[in-house]
């Protein structure tokens, strides 16, 4: 299997879907002529032209709303937010319009839109550019939220997201854009709502999403090499819908869980996961559920400090050891 970057995987997914369905249109700031702020859409404008790949002015509320309206009439817009941090100026369009129109119309109106872009800290761009709003968005029934951790998942999930009939919030990570993974050449889709056991183990479940999955994989290696502990790493991939079965099955097997996310702790995604586990697998637990999140302050700029603000393999290892 060829090794390709997370960025290329997304680019391929977009190109394949543009080719497959003429209702797919990419919109966003700098997505066309500039080839994307993070080059995810590189070459697509040259290949597909100005009708399919459209530059917008800096008007997130305006163009996200416009895409929502266009999707109501059957287009499948894929809207890039240069950063998910900028979603806050268009929250009304996302939550009230994309998130509620199907319900409020009694199911008469569909909103098959994808909103995508990076949602991560760790790049020393300060608090305003480092938000991870997956928890906010997953709080809205009607929206779907996915956070792929690898190139393989990014591609398969993007293709599924574009074909989905509901609005999908697609959260990428600038730190992963240049990383490589094996990705098959033949077409595949990854259904939204299916988690992935990225590493099998028997002693403890490390449950994560997004880049935290990679942190957990590193921690699992250390746990095995230095402590003889076989950790299982569960990648949620999709936050909403959520693959409860896979994560509960893992806890039933290992009887211990550490939940890891780059989100902030208060009402973070893992608060929901912890609640689920205690409710549905309480008797399976041999130890209290542990959580590791970003340190609970706005993202700090200072490069060495931001590194430790986000979950590190070492913190995961220490937490795991505390309950093993």
């Amino acid at each position: 299997m060829p090794l390709i970057t997370y960025r290329k995987a997304l680019n391929d997914a977009l190109a394949e879907e543009l080719l497959r369905d003429e209702n797919v249109v990419l919109l966003g700031e700098e997505v066309a002529e500039y080839n994307g702020a993070y080059k995810v859409t590189e070459g697509l404008w040259a290949r597909f032209g100005s009708k399919r790949v459209v530059d917008t002015p800096i008007s997130e509320a305006g163009f996200v709303g416009m895409a929502v309206g266009a999707s109501m009439l059957g287009l499948r817009p894929v809207v890039e937010l240069m950063f998910w941090s900028f979603s806050f100026v268009t929250f009304d369009q996302i939550i009230n319009n994309a998130g509620c129109v199907r319900y409020m119309s009694g199911g008469q109106i569909a909103c098959p839109i994808v909103i995508r872009g990076p949602a991560n800290g760790g790049t020393n761009v300060g608090a305003t550019h480092s938000h991870t709003p997956e928890n906010f968005l997953a709080n809205t029934p009607g929206l779907k939220v996915v956070c792929p951790a690898t190139a393989y998942d990014a591609k398969g999930l993007m293709k599924a997201a574009i074909r989905d009939n509901d609005p999908v919030m697609f959260m990428e990570n600038t730190l992963l854009y240049g990383e490589q993974w094996e990705v098959p050449e033949e077409e595949y889709l990854i259904p939204i709502g299916v988690a992935d056991v990225k590493r099998a183990g028997t002693d403890i479940s490390l449950i994560a999403h997004g880049r935290a999955v990679l942190t957990c994989l590193k921690a699992a290696e250390i746990l095995q090499a230095q402590h003889g502990i076989h950790a299982e790493v569960v990648d949620l991939r999709s936050i909403r819908p959520l693959d409860e079965e896979t994560l509960l099955a893992s806890v039933r097997k290992t009887h211990r869980a550490v939940l890891v996310e780059e989100n902030k702790p208060f009402c973070g995604v893992d608060a929901q996961i912890a609640s689920l586990i205690q409710e549905k697998a309480f008797d399976e637990l041999d130890a209290p559920i542990q959580r590791i999140s970003a340190l609970d302050a706005p993202a700090i700029y200072s490069p060495p400090l931001e590194k430790i603000q986000l979950p590190t393999p070492d913190r995961v290892v220490q937490k795991a050891l505390s309950i093993c």
Partner: protein, 434 residues
Amino acid sequence: MEQSALGRGGDSPVVGSGNNGQECHPFSLANQEGTLTARGGVRDGSCYKGFRGVGFQNDYLCLLCGKICLEFPPNLENLNAMMETRSFADAEINRCLTAEEKIQFLRQMFRIRRFEQTSLKAYNAGKMGGFLHLYTGQESVAVATISLLGPNDHVITAYRDHGHALVCGMEMGECMAEFFGKATGCSKGKGGSMHLFAPDKRYWGGHGIVAGQTPLGLGIAYALKYKGIRGCCLCYLGDGAVNQGVFHESLNLASLMSLPVIYIIENNGYSMGTSLARSSAFKQMLAQRAEGYNIPWDHANGENIYEMRAKTHAAIERAHEESRPTVLEIATYRYYGHSVADANARKYRTPEEIEHYKTYHDPLRLWQKRLVDEGLLTEEQAAAIDHEARAEAEAASRFADESPFPTEADIFADVYSEVDHPVGEGPHGTHFFN
């Protein structure tokens, strides 16, 4: 400047000689016969459009537009010069109207009014929850503007949506049942009065967030253009909504991308209890803000169905032929409070002001009179149309009353498409968390 394409100068005419920056912009007369009839220049120190306060001891209602006039009596010579000399009744788009079509406009207005009166009764009887934003007084706007729509033209509006919904062809029963929160409502009781939808009739709601619908209307226009369909979207908003940022983003995008969207500002003088004077820094036409985006704009008198039709028609032509947007401001007035729950409905404006509009500017009565004057209808026939509308509204109310509420299980339907319509192995993962 694009504005000149409308046959109007960019400088709107000014009534009187302002000494405090407040200017009056005459809407054309409801009465097109060329005579000026004084319609209550009430000298009570307050202005019907909310211009009041220091330096406004001498406010008078403009005979033409219902806005502040700084000189009384107005200089008739000036007014005559400024008046629209064209009679909108003679506009091509109005000359081709049949008697039955004209009567249908009256019928539509009666239907809206009686529907709302019935809903108000039901509201007061505790049949529904939340808000109820009555359109009473503004009916002519939806009736006139929507009357021009063809098979590829679409409508979207804000929460004051009952009139638009009915004119677009929704049934009173499904709307009333929606108000009552019943399973037979157009949205199965999930939207409520602010969120009526009928996409099959190209009516896209009903939106509760002020100006939240303005980029959606843009998107509908975008999709039409993308698909190569010759159509447009009428997107309605209020005089308060023009102050939302997203509306301005939408205007810029509409012009930049050359989209067939028509923003219709229903200027009823108030956003809740805030008058125009207290909400807009720009004291001239709200629609004139369009100039900043290189969008043609125009204004019309909401009492004059012919004028609204003529101007909406011009905007639709522009959308269809050139794929260009328009902003059209329509002067209108609401009789009731912001919503039925608006306890202050008579505090931010005088009861006399409301009475004045009801007496002299009621679009329904004006149109009825016009039809009688034109010899198309007798008073008795009008009364019969009114009677039918009442009966229809009463039947809708009974239908709503007798309909069942949704079930608890219905709460979870219509959230996710794949849950409602599973395909293949069905949906993956948990969608609901309780």
